[in-house]
């Protein structure tokens, strides 16, 4: 339906890779990743690329043909999934957003995860996700209240 939000961050109790943050079984369900970094002009730059999981649990991204600035700082890599519905729309929503750094490694970009945020509607249904997000909604309403009162 709309955006999806945080289920869990930084570790947790799931089976983990050697890097300690990511469930490789869940990650392997995604077909490709979207690498995003802040480019020299200050805009986000995103590119889609395939990835593989090495036997050591390393995330290796196929190197896209883009400026090399992505290796200079922190990147975000979104793994996202939806299934189209024949009559319109989509379902089976899940994503995993990994922040970290990338470095060149044997023709790939090796991702070193530092932080993870993920959501799977089969684990946390959307209505429960909305309920969990009420504090953020309340905070936003309070932040704009002066302009409404004015």
């Amino acid at each position: 339906m709309e955006e999806r939000r945080h289920l869990q961050t930084r570790g947790g109790n799931q089976p983990l890779t050697t890097l300690g943050l990511i469930d490789p079984d869940r990650l392997s369900l995604f077909r490709y990743g979207i690498v995003t970094w802040i480019d020299t002009d200050g805009f986000p730059f995103s590119v889609a690329t395939d990835f593989i999981l090495s036997e050591n649990g390393e995330i290796l991204l196929k190197k896209p043909s883009v400026p090399a600035t992505m290796t200079r700082g922190r990147v975000g890599v979104l793994f996202n999934h939806i299934t189209g519905i024949p009559t319109g729309g989509y379902t089976d929503r899940r994503y995993m957003l990994v922040w970290g750094t990338v470095s060149e490694d044997k023709g790939f970009l090796k991702l070193r995860p530092e932080e993870v945020s993920e959501w799977d509607e089969k684990i946390l249904p959307f209505d429960k996700l909305c309920a969990a997000a009420v504090p953020q909604g309340k905070r936003y309403l309070e932040s704009i209240q002066p302009s409404i009162d004015a």
Binding site: E2, T36, F43, P44, F45, S65, G88, G89, Q136, G137
Partner: protein
């Protein structure tokens, strides 16, 4: 905008984009439903107040990007298009401002009226901020082959 047909079809038919805002220098990317108007070329997303952290990011830094990489459910072949632009957030009418996008929303998600019927039950979900994005730069990878250089699209 002078875009090839295959780029235009991505904007017209893809259901979602991968939307990035910037949080203190950190890119934050989420899949979002988007809306597109060709004249003039403008992209829009709406956000519930429940998921409004990205709005807070954009109020501090309006530079955003939309990547179109997922043709699922669109009937379009896979292409990848990146739009970088400036976001303008409008939260002046949380209850009704977003409703002008309902016809486009309905086309993408025909079941949305079922959720709307339960509007009272999900009242805060339907308090929504409108974000309009003025594109500044567009890059496109035909057939989604990002191992090749992107094609720059003239705005």
């Amino acid at each position: 905008m002078k875009a090839p047909t295959w780029v235009q079809s991505v904007f017209d038919r893809y259901l979602i984009c991968e939307f990035t805002s910037i949080d203190n220098g950190k890119p934050v990317t989420f899949p979002l439903l988007f809306f597109y108007d060709n004249n003039p070329p403008r992209f829009a997303v709406t956000s519930s107040i429940l998921f409004s952290r990205k709005i807070e990011h954009m109020k501090k830094n309006p530079k955003v990007s939309l990547l179109f990489s997922n043709p699922e459910g669109s009937g379009v072949e896979k292409h990848v298009v990146l739009v970088q632009g400036i976001a303008k957030c409008d939260d002046s009418d949380l209850d009704h401002g977003w409703e002008r996008y309902l016809p486009m929303w309905r086309k993408k998600e025909p079941y949305i009226d079922g959720f709307l019927a339960a509007r009272d039950q999900f009242a805060w979900f339907w308090k929504r901020i409108v974000v309009e994005i003025e594109p500044k730069k567009i890059l496109a990878w035909k057939n989604g082959d990002t191992s090749k250089p992107a094609e720059a699209i003239n705005l």
